[in-house]
């Protein structure tokens, strides 16, 4: 089982609660990825997000820099919002990063995005939400599956490519392309039909309830003739690791609270409720917050339901102090990962 992290960037806060610079947030993210690599974490995902509190707006740029500064870790977007971006550009950025990584360490995860801010930002109409996503995914796959530099494609949401060069090609011929989903059944079926690995973003509820979706994914894939080994599942969730559960809960809460206050102002939610936080942080909730033993046990337990091959955590939210993030990454890589491996070997 691969163990990893993901981040949308996390802008630090001053003691009075005001936001510090987004520049610092990007520098912190870069440091966190290098640290994760050095500690032996398997995967780091950079999620496209466009707010002052979460400014990792361009995963491709971040991953290219990280590819040069790391040695073993797999780097990917988590996710790239492809409906409002240009798949030609995404592919080029990630295959350049792949070349810089030495080849084979860079992946793309294609997603829809959980909010709609990229539509006005990049000048797209929400009316075309589904078409944009479906066609741009098709274009991205067409480029990736091309057997030469030259690509031919046509659709309705973007100009056609008539035997045009899209370069460079990835070192190993293709980039892994994952499909991100938040739990819509038809997305799981579609990922299976396309034979793409699927990444579940589980941000609330009980993660083991995703088991029917993974079954749907695998059966849809098998029905479409895809080999079982190409049908991979990963899970991204919120979490935090500290020496004890008490410390983990205390360290993660202020950031969780800040994030929910911000989302609440935007979406008209009430003040966040600590009881909801605590409930999600206990089995079978969605937050993997605890000591290495507890987090490892919960990941291994979920593996019994979903059979996923990668579990990765978003640990930096709402201005979590950088040193606590780095410690959580260390514990995830050096304490949680071997425990998960042991637990799964016992099964």
């Amino acid at each position: 089982m691969e163990i990893g992290a993901y981040s949308f960037g996390d802008t630090q806060r001053n003691p009075d609660g005001s936001l510090r610079s987004t520049t610092e947030a990007i520098a912190n993210l870069f440091e966190a990825i290098k640290h994760a690599d050095a500690q032996g974490l398997d995967y780091f995902g950079v999620g496209e997000y466009h707010t002052a509190t979460m400014p990792a707006s361009s995963p491709g740029a971040m991953i290219a820099a990280a590819a040069a500064a790391t040695g073993q870790i797999t780097l990917g977007s988590a996710a790239s919002i492809i409906g409002t971006d240009d798949p030609v550009r995404i592919f080029q950025q990630f295959s350049i990063a792949d070349a810089i990584s030495g080849g084979g360490r860079v992946e793309i995860t294609a997603g829809r995005g959980s909010s709609v801010e990229t539509f006005p930002l990049f000048g797209h109409s929400l009316e075309e939400y589904d078409e944009l996503y479906a066609e741009k995914l098709d274009l991205l796959m067409t480029i990736n599956n091309a057997t030469s530099e030259n690509v031919t494609w046509s659709g309705t949401v973007r100009s056609a490519l008539d035997n045009l060069a899209v370069v460079p090609r990835p070192a190993s011929g293709k980039l892994p392309i994952w499909l991100a989903t938040g739990g819509n059944a038809s997305s799981s079926a579609r990922a299976g039909q396309l034979g793409l690995p699927v990444s579940y973003g589980i941000i609330g509820g009980a993660p083991h309830r995703f088991a029917p979706l993974t079954e749907l994914y695998r059966r849809s894939g098998a029905a479409a003739g895809h080999a079982p080994e190409s049908l991979k599942v990963s899970v991204g969730a919120l979490g935090f690791v500290a020496p004890t559960k008490k410390e983990a809960l205390e360290r993660f809460y202020p950031g969780w609270h800040n994030l929910n206050v911000e989302m609440g102002q935007l979406r008209g939610w009430p003040a966040p409720d600590k009881r909801a936080y605590l409930a999600q942080a206990d089995a079978p909730g969605a937050y993997y917050v605890g000591s290495p033993d507890e987090v490892a046990e919960r990941i291994a337990h979920l593996h019994g339901h979903l059979g996923h091959m990668r579990h990765f955590l978003q640990m930096d939210l709402g201005g979590i102090p950088q040193e606590l993030l780095l410690e959580s990454i260390t514990l995830l890589a050096t304490e949680v990962k071997p425990r998960v491996a042991r637990l799964l070997a016992q099964k």
Partner: protein, 223 residues
């Protein structure tokens, strides 16, 4: 049909569900568990959904939208910006539960719902003009539906609000809600549906029937 009659009878009637997304499939599972015959459809032909339904909502039948629309009670849970793709003629005369929300921060602005200050269900009802529209199920997260459902009389049972201009339809949907595991609280006519739209206390919380009545009342008085 005796929708919402005594628990665990096989003759509860047929529920049609338009939308096999997060909400549609959660309601379908609850309805199957409550003993209804459940027909679920998307905009795609039934055959394309067969595997999804078999695995995600075992016991429900994947059908075409026209067939689901002919059920005793029909739940509409499609993305709101597609509400006009729901065939109004097929739903003429039916009791239709509108589980949809207008929530521009997550779904973007939709002109039809920005035009005036009608509740979103009034706009939907203008499209489904020959149907008996009831607003409900919109203010509970799809992932809360199954864990929060409880037997009638359970302590602190979660309650769902209902709004409709049709008293008989309200009664029918209240019985359906009860069978699925929630108390039902009548908020009044469709216009009152705004008391549990996104941004309200009701939308944001989890309440039992007494609490919900108070919240709805406060919200309607303030409006």
């Amino acid at each position: 049909m005796d929708i919402g009659a005594q628990a665990h009878t096989a003759s509860r009637g047929t529920i049609g569900i338009l939308g096999a997304g997060r909400v549609g499939t959660a309601i379908a599972r609850l309805a199957v568990a409550a003993g209804y015959r459940v027909k679920i459809a998307t905009s795609k032909p039934a055959a394309e959904n067969a595997l999804i339904i078999e695995i995600v909502t075992p016991g429900a039948e994947a059908v075409d939208a026209a067939e689901a629309s002919g059920s005793d009670l029909v739940v509409v849970a499609v993305p709101l910006h597609k509400y006009k793709s729901v065939n109004a003629d097929a739903l003429a005369g039916r009791v239709v539960v509108d589980a949809m929300n207008y929530w521009s921060v997550t779904d973007g602005d939709i002109a039809d719902f920005e035009a005036d200050d009608r509740s979103s269900s009034e706009v939907v009802a203008a499209h489904l003009s020959a149907s008996r529209v009831v607003k409900s199920f919109n203010h509970i997260g799809y992932h809360e539906m199954e864990p929060d459902s409880a037997a009638p009389g359970a302590a602190d049972r979660r309650a769902l609000a209902i709004a409709s201009n049709d008293a008989a339809a309200t009664e029918q949907v209240a019985a359906f809600i009860d069978a699925l595991g929630f108390d039902a609280v009548d908020a009044g006519n469709l216009a009152s549906g705004r008391a549990f739209e996104p941004g309200t206390d009701v939308f944001n919380g989890r309440f039992n029937a007494d609490e919900l009545s108070v919240k709805l009342h406060t919200s309607l008085v303030a409006a």
